[in-house]
């Protein structure tokens, strides 16, 4: 079932078109990849989906509802959560408090809750353990390594029990082995019925965990399909290797 639809999204900054009529979809229960060279507009698209950037044109729908005019916090309350490429962890709170504050906000404000909602403190404990942050739980967030801070943002996003999870380059800063288990976690999250949309430069990870992959180049979606299809696409190869398309 398609959960997120971004239709003909265009973003212009002055004369520069960051995203040009890009469309993509993410289905519940699937991991959808979004790849492309630096500056292709991936993060801008994430900002449009979460409402941090107003699109020049285009529509965002979540489960059929048009949310294009909704504010960021209203979208979050409808079940969209994200992590940031440039980290937005709450530096003066501890790792644990970062997750806790998210769980508390969720409990107070979410429009969509699961039937048996647990206390924020319990949700936090469970997530800290699940993502593997136990050793860092009581450290201030601005003192942990980048990779840990990314996991922290993931745990924080999961505290919202999101339907749609947007991950912006989550594996950078993780070791090879950490990335490996991170991929397993992504599959688990999709298995819980969430739609996971991931921007990533690690091609091994993308090919391993994604059900579908969209390729963005100069703000346009130039290919989409299964990982195998995309890998074989001549246009994609050109975009990545720089030969004439």
């Amino acid at each position: 079932m398609t959960l997120l639809e971004a239709v003909d999204v265009t973003v212009r900054f002055g004369g520069v078109t960051a995203v040009g009529a890009a469309s993509l979809a993410a289905a519940a229960g699937q991991v959808t990849g979004l790849i492309g060279p630096n500056g292709a507009g991936k993060t801008t698209l994430f900002n449009v989906i979460t409402g941090l950037q107003r699109p020049t044109r285009g529509t965002i729908r979540l489960a059929g509802e048009d949310i294009t005019g909704r504010a960021t916090h209203e979208r979050a309350r409808r079940g969209i959560a994200r992590t940031f490429q440039r980290l937005e962890a709450f530096g003066s709170l501890t790792v644990r408090e970062n997750v806790l504050v998210a769980a508390e906000i969720h409990r107070r404000h979410a429009l969509r809750r699961s039937r048996r909602q647990q206390a924020p403190a319990r949700v936090t404990d469970r997530l800290i353990e699940r993502v593997g942050l136990d050793a860092y739980a009581d450290r201030p967030a601005d003192t942990v390594p980048t990779g840990i801070a990314r996991l922290l943002e993931l745990a924080r996003a999961l505290a919202l029990d999101p339907r749609l999870l947007l991950l912006d380059e989550p594996s950078s800063g993780l070791s090879v082995a950490e990335t490996e288990s991170f991929g397993d976690l992504l599959r688990e999250l999709a298995g819980e019925g969430r739609a996971v949309l991931i921007v990533e430069h690690d091609m091994d990870l993308i090919m391993r965990v994604c059900d579908r992959v969209n390729v963005l180049n100069f703000g346009a979606v130039i290919a989409s399909g299964t990982p195998a299809e995309v890998r074989a696409d001549a246009g994609v190869q050109a975009a990545y290797l720089g030969t004439a398309a």
Partner: protein, 660 residues
């Protein structure tokens, strides 16, 4: 009809003066990202200097203006940038504001020390000579003002669009580091923008002196007019800033010309910039959340509840002991220190936790005092009413700037303070014109000692409340909001109402303190709660440590002691201002204030710990940080995942073998 033309001409001329001031403000802000609250104060000091050169030293007017605008002001601007502001690039907005407040206080202190208060009439250039345009009389001075605005507009346009350094100035807004990589000298760019900004402030100050008067405070408050104009250009666009300045000049001129000159409206002229500002803020489009802001103020550790309680009891005990040791008159001073401490506590959630700045906290104190006085009650309920009324007004102040960034909110409080000074506190609603009110003390209290105890206990109760707030979910939200607004929004938090509640809370605490202060003084007047008094209060609060309750206690006592010291040792005079200024320079490096250093001294050893390497979370997670090197080595060989990583993953592996 002839009146209309005359008022229009007057409005445009004043607007031209505002345009000069506002363009300097916008230039400095947009190139250095530091909003210079002291912009008007620079203009004030330079106007005084110009008066000194012409009237005292007998220099011809043109030469004095040239020396001041061309040499003295740019030097002052570049010096301020070099000493105070350079380290602030990328500092939190609240810190940069407070440091410029420090500069403002220093400049006023210096001006008062060099040029003691006395009447100094200032003649316009060319005296009253001028010419007629239809029915309106235009002096040559007016003409000079308009010409100056035009020259400034043309000059800035060609500087920014036609020169290399101008391009660098525009670029430095976006990315300083990147600009440095391209070989631009960012420090030069920043110093130049401050020099030009100060020169424009000086020019505006000198030109507007015949209109405003050569006054320490009125010229300093020029920054509000300049800011009001700049808001029309959203602190970015110079053309729109000029439009805003002209509109403001016209609005002021028409208001003076056409509104009935009643006593209640006597302060209207001065209040127009504030009203104009609120209107402009309401019409401003919603600010977008910026991603990737610089953040991270390491907070002072929050003491456990039990220890805080014990400290509180000890503090009340110490206050009791001191009140018996001191004579009655000094007991009032001691109580005042605690009351100021409560005012500073009101800044702890707002500024210390939330990162917002209120430049006019004394105004809320005044509202509290007026409430108790008007109710005329000696019951403790009067204090609660004071808190409630102040909280309500605080929420109203936060509303217009609700959709905008923190900087706008802070500067709205400045305008609000001015509005209250000039319109409300002077009206029959509050103190009346130059009037005062008597405030009853709490019933059942005999003598100064009892009041000291009450104030100390009130400080402790509010302090414990603030600490409880920090530990609560709301406290976490405040810190989260300060660290990353974008992060908060993506978690589903509507920050507008969180902000309004925060502002109301802070104003409420200040209003409560106001009720106590009223009872302490027993007679209060508008002059006790002026905007200009709020600035040293904010500065001392931040210098002492606005992130902690002990900082508030220290700051309160310091604020009470400063005037005592100054009158006991008159020779210190300006030195006090200088010290405050020097302390504010230090804020750029450590926003937690003096108290945090005291904390650090006591806890240096306790906190010392080797930088933890990334360790695997073993199943017994408490031991994870103490994995022996042998274990770590072993896990790295097992892992065999490349030379650079020597730890097992932070993610627990769920039976996923490493097979490649």
């Amino acid at each position: 009809m002839s009146g209309l033309i005359a008022f229009t001409v007057l409005g445009l001329v004043t607007g031209a003066g505002y345009a000069v001031a506002a363009s300097g403000l916008v230039l400095t802000y947009s190139t250095s990202r530091v909003f210079n609250v002291a912009h008007g104060a620079i203009g004030m000091v330079m106007a005084f200097l110009c008066w000194e050169l012409t009237v005292q030293r007998g220099l011809p007017g043109w030469l004095a203006v040239l020396l001041v605008v061309g040499v003295a002001a740019p030097l002052l601007g570049a010096f301020a940038e070099r000493v105070m502001m350079r380290h602030l690039a990328g500092a939190p907005e609240g810190t940069t504001l407070v440091v410029t407040v420090g500069l403002l206080i220093m400049l006023i202190g210096a001006a008062q020390a060099i040029w003691p208060a006395t009447a100094r009439p200032v003649e316009p250039f060319f005296g009253q000579r001028g010419f007629r345009v239809g029915s309106a009389f235009v002096t040559y001075h007016d003409l000079v003002m308009v010409a100056a605005a035009l020259v400034v507009a043309a000059g800035l346009y060609s500087l920014l669009s036609r020169t290399r350094i101008g391009a660098a100035m525009r670029a430095s807004v976006d990315n300083r580091e990147l600009l440095r990589l391209y070989g631009a000298r960012t420090s030069l760019v920043s110093a130049l923008s401050w020099a030009i900004g100060a020169a424009l402030a000086a020019l505006a100050g000198i030109l507007l002196t015949p209109v405003v008067g050569l006054s320490y405070f009125d010229l300093t408050l020029l920054v509000i007019s300049a800011y009001a104009a700049a808001v029309v250009g959203r602190l970015r666009s110079l053309p729109w800033t000029f439009v805003g300045a002209l509109l403001l000049g016209l609005a002021q001129s028409y208001a003076v010309g056409y509104l009935p000159p009643t006593e209640a409206l006597s302060g209207l002229r001065a209040a127009i910039p504030a009203l104009f500002l609120f209107a402009a803020l309401l019409l401003s489009p919603q600010a977008t959340l910026r991603v990737g802001q610089i953040k991270g103020i390491a907070g002072v550790p929050v003491p456990p509840a039990r220890r805080a309680l014990v400290s509180g009891v000890l503090l009340v005990g110490a206050a009791a002991a001191a009140s018996f040791a001191l004579p009655a008159a000094q007991n009032d001073q001691l109580a005042l220190g605690f009351v100021y401490g409560i005012v500073m506590l009101s800044l702890v959630p707002l500024t210390g936790y939330g990162g917002f700045v209120s430049l006019t906290q004394l105004t809320f104190v005044g509202i509290g005092a007026v409430t108790v006085a008007r109710l005329g009650t000696a019951s403790p309920l009067g204090l609660l009413a004071a808190a409630a009324v102040a909280a309500l007004v605080g929420a109203l102040v936060a509303l217009p700037a609700l959709r905008l960034r923190g900087l706008y909110l802070a500067l709205s409080t400045l305008a609000f303070g001015l509005l209250m000074d000039k319109l409300v506190f002077q009206s029959s609603l509050a103190f009346g014109f130059n009037g005062s009110l008597s405030v009853p003390r709490l019933a059942g209290l005999r003598g100064e000692r009892a009041y000291v105890m009450v104030c100390a206990a009130a400080f402790v109760v509010v302090g414990l409340g603030v600490l409880a707030l920090r530990r609560s979910g709301y406290g976490r939200i405040l810190l989260a909001m300060r660290d990353s607004p974008a992060g908060c929004a993506t978690l589903g938090l509507n920050m507008r109402w969180t902000r309004v509640r925060l502002f109301a809370l802070s104003a409420g605490i200040a209003g409560f303190a106001g009720g106590l202060l009223g009872g302490l003084r027993q007679t209060v007047a508008a002059t006790d709660f002026q905007l200009m008094g709020s600035l040293p209060l904010l500065l001392l609060a931040v210098v002492a440590g606005v992130t902690s309750v002990s900082g508030a206690a220290l700051g309160g006592m310091a604020l009470m002691l400063l005037p005592v010291l100054a009158s006991a040792f008159p020779a210190l005079g300006g030195l006090v201002y200088l010290l405050v200024g020097v302390a504010s320079v230090g804020l750029g490096r450590d926003p937690n204030g003096v108290v945090s250093h005291l904390f650090k001294l006591g806890r240096r050893r306790e906190h010392w710990r080797p930088a933890p390497a990334r360790r695997p979370p073993s199943s017994a997670s408490t031991e994870a940080t103490r994995v022996s090197s042998a274990e770590a080595e072993q896990s790295s060989t097992e892992n065999n995942s490349g030379a650079e990583h020597s730890g097992t993953p932070a993610l627990p592996l769920r039976g996923a073998g490493v097979n490649r």
